[in-house]
Symmetry: C2
Subunit: 466 residues, 2 copies
């Protein structure tokens, strides 16, 4: 709880009360249940226990793999165990992709091995790899301004660093090379691409993540070097000699594979058809155990529901917990949910997702047309300011937000998130149980108040955003 | 320089003087050359540049490999470039060992891959690996007290954490499992061993390092799990079910291989036969680029000599820089030096080695019979206290210290050294140029004063320590 000690003194004082009648302050009189929720979440380990179980008993959960399928089974069992109702899987099919051998070395002038990893969706090099001269671009923008046909047969190296920021503002710009580096290079004749990992650490972990091929261009392999390897390659290039790299990555497309969203509910007592949706994504990349991305989001959303169930609280609206599948490979769970629930989106009153690690929020963002005051009161009770930035509720919420579903988001502190993001080092030891408990408190309080609010969050025409 | 800002105000004030006559303080009058040395080293990048070059242009330098041979060539050229005299390689032969495939996974009850690395000198598993139930020992001492024949065919897992300390005091106790875990397990019938890495970090890097087989016992394979993987395995074991692991490591002994010590000197003007020896080790493990272990030691010792050469200083005794080969696999360079120089050790006046990373010293240790006052004056000028612990001068100095060669050691701050030690993450980005400059200053000053001291450091009978 230490993170919050300085921010929410009034709330904490409130939260430490166990009986309401003894302390008849105005705030207590208004919010005894809310205080109970916060106290239960902050003193509990519900969220942490869920992440611990998922990451320990399943480990990595790459979309479309048998491990993701086991994670769905695990989540169904866990949702039932904590007392959620209507627990089910909503299956969908994806195009599977799996990692293979991945090695790289500098052949000349300074022979040595380098650590890298294929980006998700990348094609393989020819069997045995490709050996070619490096064409170096300090930034993606430098590559974009390179002449056409100037990179014939070369291995392109795109560097460029990502800045740290609480809101991850550096991710979008840094990610351009990951998303589009292959096709921008292929367009100019390159044979393959290596990028400096999209990340903010200086450890020897490459960061994976999904890439895209543009239509009508050759598909060439692309992989990410760890930051120290990218530094090393830059130093080697600075010596001024031609640098030859041997690159061998053998990932492969494995055809149609099953994925699915796992859903559980606390069915509303008065307006059961109306949905307050809280969520995270169940899949992870294959390198780590997906503790911060996004075991944390599963723990936070399911843990929040567990707090309400354990307190015997019955919301008026239905609180729905969704553990999305196949987020990492293109928000496929979010799109599948949108498609399956198309005719029902009008009943979605509010939706949010936690997918930014385990650190507590530092502000609250709105994506609603009405009812902002309910969310503002949640922020107030948590000691959090409102953000001046709008939200679409999170990656898997985006598709339904685009069709008019109201959203909000707890903007978690992501300053260090990209140190671990999509690396082998995304493991449970990186999560502070107190941090995740604070997020559970926020989600539980928000879900409870939104599910019971007399006001609505939807515009008169909920499809207005479409 | 920041580390030193609080500790050596007088020294720094002194060091910032560029002309002596202008500021006739007592200290200045006594030590104009010493002040020049400190100033030149602290404001220079000699040591850092050497580590940068070695780690960039060679990379890893596993003992006995072609990379270590290239590192010797590189060092010979560098020693000549900085103006050392009598630059030469003293070759010796070692038994080579190289890493192969290394994979591990939990087969049941929770299938998942684990990250580990073979310990140096380990035999391979049978081709295709070994699959067996885990026998868990929280500490090496628990294994030692296990009954004989109680581990038939099992894969032993030895955990046990290493404590952080500036002097690395936790390393010896934690290292028992690495050194002796294989034979203690083999003695009891085990098929293979995995240990929690000997290290103090919580990143997904296994730490390698040399192991030993006891005579007369079966040789079984041994590998180290990263700390997060060891945590994970402990959590899996805590669930109480039998845990089966599949382990496949394919390192191999590759027969006789060349290694060697690279030597260069500043020949003394008055007593050239008398040697002040400063050193580091040139070889590294194969996983990282050996920046802190021990590129730093090469940079510190050779950089210190470079400072003296660039200042045009001519010591009375010879200052000898040694870049030992094959330290990691059993101090083989140190023993080879002892054997080759057996009849000449009586002329070794003082010897030291830097092999504890790149952080500055926090105290100075003595291993001399006479002349402590010279080393105490060095410590005083650096603002460092004397240690109450004796030294043998460093790992490669140990063999000649045992034969009576006087030693001293700058006890560098190793609090974080074992976060990186013997991992892929031992790379140049972990070195602060200011830190290494301070070490260069200390080595240069010590070498200069020891080489010019009228007093001696040797006992009347230099073989007394034998
Ligand atoms: Zn995510
Ligand atoms: Zn992700
Ligand atoms: Zn060392
Ligand atoms: Zn070492």
């Amino acid at each position: 709880m230490k993170h919050w000690a300085l921010m929410g003194v009034a709330t904490l004082a409130l939260a430490s009360c166990t009986t309401v009648a003894d302390q008849p302050s105005d705030m207590m009189m208004k919010a005894p249940v809310e205080a109970m929720i916060l106290e239960a979440a902050r003193s509990g380990t519900q969220g942490y226990d869920i992440v611990e179980g998922l990451t320990t008993e399943i480990g990595q959960r790459l979309a479309g793999t048998e491990a993701e399928a086991r994670a769905r089974d695990w989540t169904v069992a866990k949702f039932k165990e904590i007392g959620l109702q209507n627990v089910r899987v909503e299956p969908f099919t994806i195009s599977g992709w799996e990692r293979g051998v991945e090695t790289a070395s500098i052949v000349s002038p300074f022979p040595q091995e380098m650590l890298l990893t294929a980006l998700g969706g990348s094609v393989a090099t020819p069997a045995g790899g490709v050996t070619a001269e490096i064409a170096y671009f300090p930034t993606f923008e430098d590559l974009e301004s390179a002449p056409m046909d100037s990179l014939d047969g070369k291995i392109v190296f795109i560097s460029g660093r990502m800045d740290k920021a609480p809101n991850g503002a550096g991710y979008g710009p840094a990610n351009r090379k990951r998303r589009s580096g292959a096709s921008e290079s292929a367009k100019r004749g390159a044979a393959a691409v290596v990028i400096r990992s999209v990340g903010t650490d200086s450890h020897r972990f490459p960061h994976t993540g999904q890439m895209r091929y543009a239509d009508g261009l050759p598909k060439i392999p692309i992989a990410a070097l760890s930051a120290p390897d990218a530094d090393q390659l830059e130093r080697i290039l600075e010596r001024g000699q031609a640098v030859t790299m041997a690159l061998n990555i053998q990932p492969r497309a494995v055809g149609d594979r099953p994925s699915g969203n796992v859903i559980g509910e606390i069915v509303g007592t008065e307006r059961p058809e109306e949905i307050v949706l809280i969520s995270g994504h169940l899949d992870s990349w294959d390198l780590g155990t997906g503790a911060i991305d996004d075991g944390a989001g599963i723990g936070i959303s399911a843990g929040a529901a567990q707090i309400l169930i354990e307190a015997g609280l019955k919301p008026k609206r239905t609180i729905r917990v969704v553990a999305y599948g196949a987020e990492e490979v293109g928000l496929l769970g979010g799109f599948a949910y949108r498609d399956l629930h198309k005719d029902d989106l009008i009943n979605h009153v509010l939706a949010t997702e936690s997918d930014f690690g385990s650190k507590p929020a530092y502000e609250v963002q709105l994506g609603v047309t009405e009812g902002a005051e309910v969310i503002e009161s949640v922020a107030d009770m948590l000691g959090l300011p409102m953000s001046d930035q709008p939200t679409n509720g999170g990656p898997d919420i985006g598709p339904i937000a685009a069709l008019g579903v109201p959203t909000m988001r707890f903007q978690q502190d992501g300053t260090d998130y990209f140190d671990l993001h999509h690396t082998p080092d995304d493991t449970l030891d990186k999560i502070d149980p107190d941090d995740i408990a604070e997020n559970v408190a926020a989600f539980a309080l928000m879900a409870w108040l939104a599910a019971n609010a007399d006001t609505d969050f939807r515009a008169d025409d909920p499809q207005a955003g479409n």
